[in-house]
Symmetry: C2
Subunit: 358 residues, 2 copies
Amino acid sequence: MNRGAPVKSTAPDTTAVRELLEEGRALTTPALRAAVDRLAPPMDTVAAYHFGWIDADGRPAEADGGKAVRPALAVLSAEAAGATPAVGVPGAVAVELVHNFSLLHDDLMDGDEQRRHRDTVWKVHGPAHAILVGDALFALAGEILLTEGGEHAARAARRLASATRRLIDGQARDISFEHREMVGVEECLRMEGDKTGALLACAASIGAVLGGADDRTADALEAYGHDLGLAFQAVDDLLGIWGDPRSTGKQTWSDLRRRKKSLPVVAAVAADNAAARRLTALLTADAKKSPAEFQDFDEAEFAERAGLIEEAGGREWTEAEARRRHVAALAAIEDLSMPDRVRERFRALADFVVIRER
Amino acid sequence: MNRGAPVKSTAPDTTAVRELLEEGRALTTPALRAAVDRLAPPMDTVAAYHFGWIDADGRPAEADGGKAVRPALAVLSAEAAGATPAVGVPGAVAVELVHNFSLLHDDLMDGDEQRRHRDTVWKVHGPAHAILVGDALFALAGEILLTEGGEHAARAARRLASATRRLIDGQARDISFEHREMVGVEECLRMEGDKTGALLACAASIGAVLGGADDRTADALEAYGHDLGLAFQAVDDLLGIWGDPRSTGKQTWSDLRRRKKSLPVVAAVAADNAAARRLTALLTADAKKSPAEFQDFDEAEFAERAGLIEEAGGREWTEAEARRRHVAALAAIEDLSMPDRVRERFRALADFVVIRER
């Protein structure tokens, strides 16, 4: 039996992860490019820019196309069910298309001008193209999965459609939270489970589903992905406040500037101590300010809020939450039989997600 | 053998169409409402507003939710394949969800403030909700079809995904045409075949596919829907220039204000006569104007362009095109065996699409 060790005591095996991500990309990218080539001009060009295959002037580029954790998981999950990695590829492509559809729309809705250190699609090609190309990638996802996914494609497509709807539901609640004075910890976790957990859960099981895995196997892999998603999001929430702009590619205090009710914030407010009460008073006053007044805040004012969140225990709670989810993710698959090499890769990926970039 | 008579000589049987559309709505609306109820707040409310079930303040309403031609077709196509109308319902709901997803995004991209004589969703609930709720309806479409569509759901979902991608491709080209000086007639017809024909083709065959129809039947019904879509779009293009704002709910000369390269325009420009040459000179000069200069045009300037389009023969050509597609739609299904009542309904619907609102 493999018990997930607490993340702090595990030195993350970055070589294993790098190999795994590279193999996933090598298997998936040609299929992803072939899928995007099906789009009519000018959408094929806009999509190629988004994926980092060309620059804003249309010249070939090799920009950062993201870590591609989801395709790697999809391929790995096929192996977990005893199928070849190739069986997972249509699932990997479909999940990556859905993920990028959501990025295109989110960047536009959030007004984010940068992603992976490059201008976002709406900034370069305009809002209409960000909407349309996002829509097209979503449509392509279903098409690829259903035409190339083999005999179990319908079951996989059903799971992907439902994960996508949860992703959108989560994103809608995340945005609505920005306009609310306060949000509870449970409510925030449910939102993050939908926004981030649902698609990672689908990625971590879709290859197995395409390989004909039974429900027990698919559900265990899904549970792994869901917890991995929550760990990932907890780390993302920490980076959204304390991340180094040079590695995140975002502004300092980026989530605070947007009044995001992320985990460190809601956990801090829920604490019973003096810092929590001072924080709550500040945030209640902030909620009444217009976006323009809020934009005028200087660094010191955001630093004060970040300091109170930390003092109230929000940072520590979120770090512990990431570790809890890491343990839960590994526990979810400990009773599944799979080759040791595959299990080690699931573990290395989980370690990587929790430790990355900090 | 039933040969489609030219539309001018057919008095459209509006009672038959009204019955057909009402039956389609009666069968489909409860399933559509149940689907929309799956959305998390506030998206369920935004979607309910879009469908006309509630007003902007959330009070129950019975606003015009559209003619619902697509659900009626989906249900009818199940009957054409010898299945019960109920077999077509998951397809009807899925197609109607995709249609409304595209309306939500199109209204935002086009900046349209009114649809069916009510404020559009982005105008009432903001752009982010128009994007998100559109996305959610699209995801729901796949979910409903794959969970409730029965044993042939995957085949139907594959066709729907590919029709949706063509719809998006068509919409992208339609927008790109607005920024081009001129567009050819063939190019315009291909764009309209994707933008409008693909989803109507899917609607007209999806019930049959769910009912297990063979490829010949499904393809013939698809061809009917595709030609019906082109007829529909030709009429829409006529209304976009000469339609009465009181019945279309749009501005006068609405397509001209947007420099749309619709069928009457491209057909007029392609003609070999003096009016065509004067029109081409005017439109070439227009293409160089900024949107602001163009907005300053008065009614007389648009009327002049509309007059030249008519004089060059663009209006007449488009009217003839609608009739040609009407005949082709009916011819596509004349060799399929189906009950007379069902065939009459396909005919009545085609008549209705060509004759409506003029």
